[in-house]
Structures are given as structure tokens and as C-alpha cells.
């Protein structure tokens, strides 16, 4: 006869409620693990997907994912000149916040190096890659755009031609893919009035400058768009992505480029580590610690629950001892209930989590490894936390059955 199951059946309602509670608690622990994993994955997703061997960024910065990085557009050509470099692409990346239907809309704007990169590497769930070098965008699902929808950004209107999924910035914002020129246009968009004011003040500055005094016709140029002024640079890039030819060690190429005084260079792995150690490090640690805390709390709560379950049975346990039940029978009863509680709790956590987590604004990733790790922890907690109850049960004297 299985005493554990008899007792559970006798107190079925209470046990079910307790299990549900434990399940919810474990779901939170599980969710914390998933959020942690989600942050790590999201942070490095882009770097992994883009698949560049090397990232060339502004000297002494930590790259476009961590902070503002500015490199001149001609860096692409300089990089291409390095032996063993197969391709070099422009990379523009920045986050904008606009409003859409009254709600804030954050887009991580990413520029693709048209025409070498049309976004073919982006996993699309609908639509197609970019087909022209202007006014098209591929949007992450989380941005909520429909295929064919038009979005006004800056002075232009962009059409959503493709929808991708799981393309998220390290802050959790959905990525919008544009051509580099479009991305720059969005980034450096200035209102008309600001442009007019700048041209006027440019003229004023020019009149006072030595160059303006010596060559007055030059001042006529000041009213033209910036791009047409030879002395004023084209908008800058965030970084340049380099792919090395097959069979070449990226580190060799990196060594060469790192000799240049105006830029820093990172391998894909280096950039990845930078990201994890940099921008997401604190939130990662925060959630990691929280997860540990929650696990400990879950253990304490489970121990208390099992202790109370045992206390409720203390008279029966004394009676069992009195009629000669060996300790193994009593220990088995408590331990089995602990395991049932743990296993069912874990199952409930998983089932509810599967339904609930997808509704979260950021990804909650339940990996096989994390799940089995948690399952193991729950098992250990179940066994360990039943010790408190077992300790109590072992101390009960059969005499107590008589009082």
C-alpha cells in the first residue's frame, strides 16, 4: 500500500492547490532563467546573424552596439585594400523612437550596404529582401508592421517589403533594415527650418572667416546642401564589417587593421564578448542573481510546505511507529510526496510557462539545457527540503500517538 498516495488522495484539494502554488513559483524561476537567456541571445543575435568576421569601429569605442561609433565612409575602401579581405560592407546602426497610434515605437535602424547586401541573410517569414536602394524596409515582427504597410520616417515614406522574426537589438527593440543611405537619411534627418538656419549661419560664419574674406564667391556655395559642399564630409558610418577570404585567419587581418590610428578592430567573437561584458552585463548579472535568489526562495518555501505537510501527519507518523513501521516506510512517504510535489510543480511550471511566456514583450527562451538544469535543481530541492520534515518525523515518539 502506498501511504504517500493515500494521504494525497485524502487531502486532494489542498495538495492540488499547494502543487499549483509550487508550480507557479517554479514558473517564475523558470521564467527568470528564460529572460536571462533571452537577453543574452538577443544581445548577440545580430552579431551572429550578420556573420561578419571583423568589425572595424571608431578608435577606442566599444562599437555601435555599445555606444556611438563613427567611422568615415571611405573606410570601406581602405579595408578592401587589405590583403585577404574578401568583402567590406558599410554598417549603420542607431535606435530611433517615434510614435505610432499613440504608442511609443522604438526601431533599431540598421543600414544594409546596398547593393552588395540586400538582406538575403535575414530570415524572412513574409515578403522579400530589399529590391531597390531607397524607400524599402524589412521589419522585425515585434515592430508590429504589416507587409506592404508604409511608414513615415524623416521626410520619406518607406514600404515594408519583408517581415523577419527574432531580429532584436540588445535593448530588445525590433530591428528595421534599410539601405545605408536610407538609414543615414533617417538618422541625420533635420527639419527644413533647421537646414535653412544652418545655411544662414554658415554664410555668417563664412563672411567672418579668412577664406570668406579672401574669396567672396565661395560664400555663394554655403547655401547649397551639405552633400554638395566638397569640404564637408558625407554622413559617417557606424562601423565597417569585413569578411576575410576562406582559409584566412581573421586575427591576421585584424592585426593589420589594428595598426591604423583612427579605428579599432574586433573579431566577431570579440564583439560578442564585448557586448555581453558591456551593455548587457549589468542586466544579465541582475537577472542572474535574481534567479539564484528565487531558486533559494523556492527551496525554502518547498521545505516549509513539506514540513507543514509532515506536521499535519505527525500523529499518523507516531501511530505508524507505534504499530512498528520501520523508518524507511515513514521516510519513503515524506520523500515520495516531496518528489510528487516537485515533479508536478515542474510540469505545471512548464505548461503554464509555455502559454504565458510568449506574451512577454521580450523573448523568454527556455533552452533544453536550462530546463534540465532546473529539473535537476527541483529534484535536489525536493529531496533536500523534505529533510526538515523527515527530521521532525524521526524525532516523533510513538508515545505521541496516545496523547
Amino acid at each position: 500500500m502506498n501511504l504517500a498516495s493515500k494521504d494525497i488522495r485524502h487531502n486532494l484539494g489542498r495538495f492540488a492547490l499547494t502543487t499549483l502554488g509550487v508550480g507557479m513559483l517554479l514558473m517564475v524561476v523558470m521564467g527568470m532563467g528564460g529572460i536571462y537567456r533571452g537577453i543574452v541571445e538577443d544581445a548577440t543575435l545580430l552579431i551572429d546573424r550578420v556573420g561578419a568576421d571583423l568589425w572595424i569601429i571608431q578608435r577606442n569605442t566599444r562599437g555601435p552596439f555599445a555606444e556611438v561609433s563613427r567611422v568615415p565612409p571611405n573606410l570601406v575602401h581602405r579595408a578592401l585594400a587589405v590583403p585577404s579581405v574578401q568583402s567590406a560592407r558599410e554598417f549603420v546602426y542607431h535606435t530611433i523612437q517615434r510614435e505610432r497610434e499613440g504608442k511609443p515605437l522604438r526601431i533599431a535602424v540598421l543600414g544594409l550596404s546596398w547593393p552588395t547586401d540586400k538582406g538575403e541573410w535575414i530570415p524572412l517569414i513574409a515578403g522579400r529582401p530589399l529590391a531597390q536602394n531607397h524607400f524599402e524596409m524589412i521589419a522585425d515582427k515585434s515592430l508590429g508592421f504589416r507587409l506592404g504597410e508604409t511608414v513615415e520616417l524623416g521626410k520619406e515614406t518607406y514600404t515594408v517589403v519583408g517581415i523577419t522574426t527574432s531580429m532584436i537589438s540588445s535593448n530588445g527593440d525590433g530591428i528595421g533594415f534599410f539601405t545605408v543611405t536610407d538609414a543615414q537619411a533617417i538618422q541625420f534627418d533635420t527639419p527644413g527650418e533647421a537646414v535653412r538656419l544652418e545655411r544662414a549661419s554658415r554664410e555668417a560664419r563664412g563672411e567672418r572667416s579668412e577664406m570668406g574674406l579672401k574669396q567672396p564667391p565661395l560664400l555663394e556655395q554655403a547655401v547649397k546642401p551639405s552633400g554638395e559642399l566638397p569640404a564637408i564630409a558625407r554622413p559617417q558610418l557606424s562601423a565597417v564589417m569585413v569578411s576575410v577570404s576562406p582559409g584566412t585567419d581573421p586575427n591576421q587581418v585584424a592585426d593589420i587593421i589594428s595598426g591604423w590610428g583612427d579605428v579599432s578592430v574586433f573579431t566577431q567573437k570579440g564583439q560578442r564578448e564585448l557586448l555581453l561584458k558591456g551593455s548587457v552585463e549589468k542586466i544579465r548579472r541582475q537577472i542572474g542573481l535574481f534567479r539564484i535568489l528565487l531558486t533559494v526562495i523556492a527551496a525554502i518555501i518547498m521545505a516549509l510546505i513539506l514540513y507543514t505537510l509532515t506536521l499535519d501527519k505527525i500523529h499518523s507518523i507516531a501511530l505508524l511507529k507505534l504499530i512498528g513501521a520501520p523508518n524507511t516506510v515513514i521516510l519513503g512517504m515524506i520523500m515520495q510526496q516531496a518528489l510528487v510535489l516537485g515533479v508536478l510543480g515542474f510540469g505545471i511550471a512548464y505548461l503554464i510557462g509555455q502559454k504565458v511566456f510568449p506574451m512577454f514583450p521580450r523573448r523568454v527562451i527556455l533552452t533544453q539545457v536550462d530546463l534540465s538544469q532546473l529539473a535537476f535543481i527541483v529534484l535536489v530541492i525536493s529531496v533536500a527540503s523534505s529533510f526538515l520534515g523527515i527530521w521532525k518525523a524521526m524525532r516523533v515518539s510513538p508515545n505521541e500517538a496516545l496523547s
Binding site: 500500500m1 501511530l319 505508524l320 507505534l322 504499530i323 512498528g324 513501521a325 520501520p326 510513538p398 500517538a401
Partner: protein, 230 residues
């Protein structure tokens, strides 16, 4: 060779507490019960009957004195001379003053568990448990939980549990308090039958003087002391 008794106690003394709160619940209580003998233990409330019975039952060891069961020394003062729990399981059947059934097991399971703990397979245990309950007239309530049984019915389940492992010693603390006199007498006669058929030693604490003719020997306790009445 010394003749072995079913139950034999030498000068059992039990002192509860110390100093101001010291209570001598039992003093130099000696008793010998032969195999097949049925003993009644009488005495006023608080005279130490339950203390004596729990000492003999290896539940509540005495402060001084020895307990022999079937000739084997089991308790020497508070010292256990054998594995008390397994000894209880194999040799001693109890019925307590208050009914003591496991609340989450049905009547039949309460009897069955005692058999299974003693190594019976669950099928055999269940069959035997049902027989016992039928014998005691509560076969029809076999699947009820204790909370659904009357005091008397619970007591009879406890009797069935006590008899289940065919113990060589049966100890009953006012087993018939919750029964009508007819049922009470039936239970007493059942003890006598078990004692005579199987050579078990039986001690029954009782207040019911009408059923005393069932017993072979009568002892009485008074202020913790034991007297043999005949």
C-alpha cells in the same frame, strides 16, 4: 529450565518529570502472564494502568525494572534490549484507550497496513483484513474512512488491527469503553478465544465489572502499585 511467561515484568517504576513536578506514576509493578492467560487490570483513574500497559508494550520505557516478552528481556529500565519497533510489529497487538486509526486510510487499509508492514503481500493482507473486519461485524464499513465511523466501530477496527499479525501479546486499554455491553462482551470473548487458541498473553484494562468472568486473572492498580486479586 525457567518457565517462560508470555509477559513478565519485574518491579516496573515510572517517574515522570523531576524535582517539584516529579510524579511517580508506577511503582514496583510486577506481573506474570502465562501463554493463553487473559488478565484484567482494574484501578481508579490515574492509578497508572496506562503507564504500565505502555511500558509492557515497549512504547513508554520504565525508569526502573525489566520487561520480558516470551522470555526475552526487551526493556531493562529505559534501556532497549532489542529493536523495539520491529519487536512490537511482530509480537505485540495494541488497542488504545482512544481509538487510534490513521485518518487517511480506510478501515480495511488500517488493518491491511499492519499486515503489510509485517511482510504480507498486499493481496493476502487485504483478504485477511477483510476476514477480521467481518469477524468483528464491521465488514460492511470496510471502505469507510475512520472519520465516517462511530467510536465503537473505530474501536473494532483497532481490535482487528491489533489481532492482524497474530501477536503473542495483546494489550488493550479500555477497548470496550465505546461499545455497548453486548459488543463489549463480544470483544472480551474474542480476546479470550485468541489467548486460548494461540497461547497469547492478554492484558485488558477495563472498568466494566460485568465482563470480569471472561478473565483468568484479575490485577488491580492503586497509586502506581500493582496488586493481584485472584
Amino acid at each position: 529450565m525457567k518457565k517462560s511467561f508470555a509477559i513478565e515484568t519485574h518491579d516496573l517504576t515510572k517517574v515522570y518529570g523531576t524535582g517539584n513536578t516529579e510524579v511517580v506514576a508506577m511503582q514496583d509493578a510486577s506481573m506474570q502472564v502465562q501463554h493463553g492467560e487473559v488478565v484484567a487490570l482494574l484501578g481508579p483513574s490515574g492509578s497508572g494502568k496506562s503507564t504500565f500497559l505502555t511500558a509492557v508494550g515497549l512504547i513508554n520505557p520504565p525508569t526502573f525494572g525489566q520487561v520480558f516478552i516470551g522470555g526475552q528481556l526487551t526493556l531493562d529500565g529505559p534501556q532497549a534490549r532489542t529493536n523495539l519497533r520491529s519487536f512490537r510489529r511482530r509480537h505485540i497487538g495494541f488497542i488504545f484507550q482512544k481509538s487510534n486509526l490513521i485518518p487517511f486510510l480506510s478501515a480495511i487499509e488500517n488493518v491491511q497496513i499492519a499486515l503489510e508492514l509485517n511482510g504480507e503481500t498486499s493481496g493476502t493482507a487485504r483478504r485477511r483484513a477483510r476476514e477480521l473486519l467481518d469477524d468483528l461485524g464491521i465488514g460492511d464499513r470496510a471502505d469507510n474512512l475512520p472519520s465516517m465511523l462511530s467510536g465503537g466501530q473505530q474501536q473494532r477496527v483497532a481490535v482487528a488491527r491489533a489481532l492482524a499479525n497474530r501477536p503473542s501479546v495483546i494489550l488493550a486499554d479500555e477497548p470496550t469503553a465505546a461499545l455497548d455491553s453486548h459488543r463489549g462482551r463480544q470483544v472480551m470473548e474474542l480476546f479470550a478465544q485468541v489467548a486460548h487458541e494461540r497461547g497469547a498473553g492478554v492484558i485488558v484494562v477495563t472498568h466494566d465489572h460485568r465482563a470480569l468472568d471472561v478473565f483468568d486473572t484479575i490485577y488491580e492498580m492503586e497509586d502506581g502499585r500493582m496488586f493481584r486479586q485472584g
